[in-house]
Amino acid sequence: MLIAVPALALAACNSNSTREIRAVGSSTVFPFTALVAEAFVNQGGTSRPPVVESIGTGAGIARFCGGAGWEYPDIANASRRMKKSEYALCEKNGVGEIIEVQIGVDGVALAESNNGPKLQLSKKDVYLALAASPGGKPNAARTWQDVNPALPAIPIQVMGPPSTSGTRDALVELIMEPGCAEANPEAKELKKSKDTGPYDKLCKRIRDDGAYIDKGENDNLIVQGLAQNPNAVGVFGYSYLEENAARLHGVPIEGVTPSYEAIASRTYPGARPLFLYVKKRHLRAVPGLSDFLKLYATMWDPQGKLVKRGLIAAPEDVRAHSRDIVAGGIALDPAQLH
């Protein structure tokens, strides 16, 4: 109590009954929401700048679903769709209706140095090269040739983000799991079973014997690593590939090179949608929140500022749908989640 008293006295002279907009969540969506927050301030939309925290999709949604009211964030940034279990948590804590807005698309890109061996991979190749136990046996593949005789005999070295990263989740979900289903016909049955253990072990776990090199959350380190080691393959968000196009090029998967168009149209297998989740009740209670969303909607077009900063615009019909949701405050139907 001794500690709290001077703090309270100090804090009291600065209290203010209104609150700034607060967004938490994915580190992939963070730069985009931060950009909109800055534009919102610059256009004179608010005197209290919005606060955007980057704590990861899972942690962000957990905080978002903590409850409704002053101390909980208004927006959750997510680099994947909300899960049914997360929606249930929101419901339990009295969050009320939630608005789901797709802001664009992101791609998890596989890339190599310009001096690299110009690999051409399939989802199955990636799965066989990176899974901890493909087909139930420990992964013995040392070179790409072990995985697929058509590939060169260079050692498998893949640099990627750690297990806490949404980008790694996307790699597993978008590339490894479909590859697993191709390689193991029984995977489909396993996925349906209540016990998720065997399926996770077969399809989702990434090997930890050194072929997959965990480079930490900083994607710039992966870019540097690729420049030093031309035989390595890197895994990161598409915006890093775009920014370093002079040094790196994308590795085609199933014959599709990661490019803006391929990801926007979702023909590239590593493409994933990015979402905002907003509390409908806060739209009225938090000043500026609905203007903030409307500003967001003006910036995600193909010529918009967000796209210049590395977001990939969603197709026109998706954008139109998202605009309608923002304009009308249409709540998410939980039956769509899984």
């Binding site: 929401t33 927050a37 800055e38 301030v41 980057s54 002053w70 590395g310």
Partner: protein, 431 residues
């Protein structure tokens, strides 16, 4: 007596003998080896420090520089639809944004340089806005305004990037419409998503506010506990237990204090907050300061106790002997003499708190905040967190900014340590 005689019976040492000479050589060699090992250790750590400083200085020097381009605005011809009376009111930003100033400035830039990359940075139009706000009179005349260039242009001036852009940039340089100089915004602006206008002031101010709270709480509480434990408490099992706990607390990893801060300060707020208003909000300097105060309090207690212990008992006895009360002894004699040690310990603790990120991530200070905090309860971030956020940015210009921010942090730390040394020398008493 007998023993001495017995020892003198032994033959005197033969220093010239081969075996003895060999032993002496070995001794000297061991001495030299030890000296060299010590020297090697010093050289190694100095080399690491020199490497760190050299890389930071080499990368960071560019982070303090910025390229700007000059654009001519003929404001009467542009006829911005703004009401001049509004420009001195808080609604000025809204009015100028409503007048499409951003598009006007961008249009002027692409007319001046129709190249493959933008000429001015994304937030460059804010410079024009601020110029208009500072002197609405320029709306009535032609004005040449220096605007931050785009990152591509800045890199091109150094010969990096697309060759077409490089030649375009050097042509502009020939016209005198482009300059590179010290970036004052870096020290006065807040965080931004645009690397050309992003600055360190918001984070620096956040650090200062956080440190102020940390000091105001940790210093009095730490020193008072040390005085009580040294001067008043009787030694028994309880004080031993307290001593062990304090020593243990000093060694607890900082992330644990973050969890504590999250649970205690933010948690309490969530329980009682509604009656008091926003006192301990998330991401605020006050919560960061409280958390860091908990972290460095044990360090201060330990340093203060050692300093108080080092005051000779004769001083206390003399003061008590001429009739001083216990409080007078402590405040007139013991504390002033112990002050250099206490201050050194405090500043070392504060320096540790200044460089801390882990506990602050948990209480929401890993955040993007566009404006510097106006008070202790405003959302804020701190220098090390800012460095952490920038190091993860895609843009190449942010990589340089990261190093520049590290230099600012190092200078801040150096200043604090310098203060510690100065205070120690100033108040030190020898007897």
């Amino acid at each position: 007596m007998n023993k001495r005689l017995a020892s003198s019976d032994r033959a005197p040492t033969d220093w010239k003998a081969e075996a003895m000479q060999k032993r002496i050589r070995r001794r000297y060699a061991a001495e030299r080896r030890f000296k060299l090992m010590g020297l090697a250790a010093v050289v190694l750590s100095a080399a690491f420090l020199a490497f760190l400083l050299a890389t930071m200085a080499a990368n960071g020097a560019r982070g303090f520089m910025r390229t700007e381009v000059a654009l001519e605005f003929d404001f009467p011809a542009l006829a911005l639809p703004v009401d001049r009376a509004q420009l001195s009111t808080p609604g000025a930003d809204l009015a100028l944004a409503g007048a499409e100033l951003e598009n006007v400035v961008k249009g002027a830039a692409s007319a001046a340089y129709p190249g493959p990359v933008p000429l001015i940075s994304d937030n460059g139009w804010l410079t024009v806005r601020d110029a208009i706000k500072a002197d609405p009179g320029i709306l009535g005349r032609k004005e040449r305004i220096w605007i931050p260039a785009s990152p591509e242009i800045q890199l091109a001036l150094r010969g990096e990037g697309d060759p077409a852009v490089v030649t375009g940039a050097s042509k502009l340089e020939g016209l005198g419409a482009i300059r590179t100089g010290f970036n004052r915004d870096f020290l006065t602006a807040s965080n931004s998503t645009d690397p050309m206008v992003a600055g360190i002031w918001g984070a620096l101010k956040g650090s200062l506010l956080t440190m102020a709270i940390t000091f105001l709480i940790a210093f009095p509480v730490g020193v008072l506990s040390a005085i009580y434990l040294e001067e008043y408490a009787t030694r028994n099992r309880w004080t031993d237990l307290i001593e062990v706990s304090i020593n243990n607390l000093a060694a607890v990893p900082s992330i644990i204090f973050g969890l504590l801060g999250l649970a205690v300060f933010l948690g309490t707020w969530e329980m009682f907050g509604h009656q008091f208003g926003p006192l301990l909000p998330r991401s605020a300097a006050v919560v960061g300061g409280l958390t860091l105060a908990l972290m460095i309090m044990p360090v201060i207690v330990i340093a203060s106790r050692n300093a108080i212990k080092a005051v000779p008992p004769s001083i206390r006895d003399a003061a008590l002997g001429i009739g001083a009360s216990r409080v007078q002894v402590v405040f007139h004699h013991v504390l002033p003499l112990a002050m250099p040690g206490i201050l050194t310990g405090t500043i070392i603790g504060m320096a540790r708190a200044l460089g801390e990120t882990a506990p602050l991530l948990l209480i929401g200070m890993r955040a993007f905040v566009v404006q510097p905090p106006q008070g202790f309860t405003d959302p804020a971030t701190v220098l090390p967190v800012q460095i952490f956020l920038w190091s993860d940015e895609v843009s190449r210009v942010f990589v340089e900014k990261t190093s520049a921010a590290i230099i600012v942090l190092l200078v801040f730390l150096l200043a604090m340590n310098g203060l510690a040394i100065y205070l120690r020398n100033r108040f030190e008493t020898r007897w």
